[in-house]
Structure formats: structure tokens, C-alpha cells
Amino acid sequence: MKYVIYPVALALLAAVPFVASDYALGLLIGMVTYVTLASAWAMFSGPTHYVSLATVAFYGAGAYVVAMLNEVMAYPMILLITAGVGAAMALVVGLSTLRLAGVYFVIFSFGLAELIRQLITWYEINIYGTLGRYIFVDITARGIYWQMLALAAITIGLTAYINRSRLGLALRVIGDDEVVAAHSGIPLARMKLMAFVLSATILTLAGAIASPRWVYVEPAIVFNPTVSFLTVIMALFGGANRLWGPALGAIPLFLAFEYLSAHFPDVYPIFLGALFIGVVFLFPNGVLAGIEGLRRGKKEETA
């Protein structure tokens, strides 16, 4: 049954641009982008509980690879290079930081985005000469939507595959207790690194695919820390430990943020903060788990 429903649903989603307005298509692209980001973030951070605020470091780096290369080579080639850059960055970062535990990893990952922003700013000013680049790629909004949809599907499919693999089991054990994991024969560094690199590569690709929408980029625009925070809160809202949790968290929250930032631009950050607090207090394991808990509670009452 699953093997029929998913392709059909994907085909329907892919057909939406033929009936949607330009505005609606823009919304869809944003929505699918955050579905991808939240799902890719949860691929590593969900089971391991290593909360990463480095999402925008990879996402922004992806956009910058396109900005730097879009005049010198073909787009598919750029995407390949982007994936390589993302994986290489994640490998270096992972090797140096995955020994950090808990809050130290959170702070480091947050600092990483800032570090990369400053490095690129320095490079642009001192070597390239001007701060700011243009992205002119011959791609329509529909093209971006289809690519992002494909990336989202790949991300969720890959997560489903990992969940059933040794890697998935290892990551969940690591999330519960690293000492037990090591003593059960799980090579901690290798497993964490594999998941981190996979997740970061997807985040970087998402940045590259979304980048033509910007047209003009500079580090302050691209490396906006709000992207990292939104990604975390969406994944947690839906449930970072569930296959569909991050996607189900990303869709309503993205629409809510769009509405709020359009209609209440001044007080919008207050909503964001309140939502953060609300999610952590009310749904520490995500809305999906919360609903399941309620259901189970009711069943037990009636039983």
C-alpha cells in the first residue's frame, strides 16, 4: 500500500505548480525548503540529541557556492560541487567537535555559522573586492520547486532507510547513553560522523537549490541565524524522532511565520519566542507524540 501512496502523493505535489499562482508557488517553495531542512536536521540531531544550530552554516554555504560559481560552470556541476563542499565541511567540523557533549556542542554549532559568515565576509572584501554577488541561473520557480521537492523526498526516504539500518539503531543508542553504546561495540565517532555528514550535505544542497530565489546575496542575508532556530523548532514541534515529525512541524509553522511576518512584522519575534517556550513545555517530544499520549490516556480511561 505504501508503495502506491507515496509515489502518487509525490506526483500530485509535483503537479501543483501547474495550477498554483506565482505567490502560492513561492509559499510552496519556502514550505518544502523547511520540510527539507527540518527533516535533514532531524536525521542527525533527532536520534542523537545533539542539538545543532549550524543549519544555516551549511545552508548558507550552499547558496554561496552557487553565487561564486554560477558564472563559470553549468548548474548540475555546481550542485555536485555543493554536495562535496557540504560533506567536506561536515567532515572537518564533525571530526573536531563530535566529542563535545550537550550544551558545548550547541554553542559550537552556533558559533560555526558565525565563523563561516565572517570568513566569507573577509574573503569577499579583501580578495573578491566587493561584498555582495548576483545569482543568475536559468531556472524557473517551478524548477526550484521540483528540485526542492525531490530533495525533500530523498531526505525522508533516506531517513526511513537509516532508521531501519544498523546506523539508525546505533544513533538511537548513542542518543540514550554513549557509554553503553561504546561498550556494546558501536564505534561512536564513525557513526556520529556518518549521520552528521549525510545531514549536512542535504542542508548544503538545499541552500544551493534555494539560492536563485535570492538573486542578490551577501553574508548578512544568507547566514541569518533565524533559519537555524526555525529549523530546530519545526523539527521539535513535529517530533524529531519520527520520520514525518519534522515535515509535519515545518508546514504549519512555516505558514504561521509567513502570516505573522507579513501582518505583524514588528511583534513577530515575540510570537517566535512564545512558540519556542510553548513547544518545549507542552510537547517536549513533539506534537505527534503528544497526540499519541493523549489517545493512549483516553484508551486507558475507557478500558
Binding site: A170, R172, V173, D176, V179, V180, A182, S184, G185, L188
Partner: protein, 242 residues
Amino acid sequence: MSLLTIDKATKKFGGLTAVDGVSFSLEQGEILGLLGPNGSGKTTLINLISGALPMTSGDTRLNGVSLAGKRADQIAHAGVARTFQLVRILPSLSLMENVMITAVFGAKSHWGQAAKDTAMTALGRVGLADRATASAGSLTYIDQKRLELARALAAEPEVLLLDEWLAGLNPTELAQGIALIRELSQSGLTILMVEHIMEAVRALCPRVVVMNSGSLIADEATQSALNDPCVIAAYLGDSADA
């Protein structure tokens, strides 16, 4: 050749020498008690053997292969399994998954049905088979201890390290626990057990090694060790009632 040899194992924490040149060995199928007063370095020694802590100097050899400098996962892979003094279970995983991980990531690298079968066998040996799908977070203390032992068994280890596995059990559970360990021993498993409960040591271990302040002070038959004046002085104190 001995199955497991501890050769001048030493661990220093800054100026404190927690384990000081300890050497002994275990034969295939032997069950050996590791005794000593609190703070004498027993758990640290277990941590050195399992790779939880790196040795400052010295070596452990399993079947003649050196384990010094290896990580915990490599040592687990080589065939050493353990339980923890403060029981460590994985609360968000089911009992089956808790136990399966050592079958999956241990020496035999089982996967799929083979891993599940190994886990079920191990759960059956400790009497938890009927609750395989329950969540580990909901277990009582004794069942958590059983679960931890099952996890160690599912690794199909060559050597099992038990760190006060019998502590905190009531008399009925203790009798069950002793019977269970005896059964494991009789099945040919080599066991090194840290234990404070003399009743269990007498019942299970023909031979003991005794530590005090990081050093080995006795390595002999259990009965003579417990009558050894220096063991009594170090471990049992003046009012020896054991």
C-alpha cells in the same frame, strides 16, 4: 595460555594511583571474584579492562591479543562484555532493542532475524523473554539489572565483567541471581565479578583476587583468602563477620 591476562595494569588520576600494577589472569571457563573495600580500585580496574578508561601503563590480553590502548567499542568487539555498577539501560528503546545492540555491534555482527534470535535467547536466559516489546523505561530495578545482563550475554562474549551485579537485591532475588550466574558459569562462560556480598562470592567463586588501595593483596582460593590476615585487616576490618 590464559584467556584473559591483566599485566601490571596501572591507572593514575593526577597524583592518585587508583590501580597500581595489578596482574592476574583468568582461565577459560573460570569464575573469579574481585574483592576489596570501597575505593580500592575494583571498578576502575573493570573500567580499564573494558576500555571505559585508558590505562596509564600495563596491558590486558585476551587470547594473547593485547587490548591496551583500544577503544571500548573495539574491546567489546573483541569479546569482552560488561554490566555497570550503576545500572545503565536505554529507556527509550524496547527490551528487545536494548539487548539486540550487542548482538548487532558485537563480535558476531548479527543482523535481522539472527540478531533478534540472539536477543530473545539472552532475554530468555534472564527471564524477560515474555516482555521483549515493552519499553525499558518501565522496568523495576531487578528487571533493569536482568536486562543489562541480557545485553551483555547477547554479545556472546568470551569474558563477562560483572560490576556488583548482585548489589541491591532482596534475599529471594539474590538467590535467583546467584543461580543465574552459576548457570552462566556452568555453560562455559568466563566471568570476572566484583562483589561485596560474601554469600555470593562463597557460593560462586572458587578463587578470588583482593585489592586494597589500588594494589593486589591476595590471589588465592576463596576460603584461604577470607582467612588471610592481611585481607581481613584491609577488607573486613576488626569485626569480621563474614
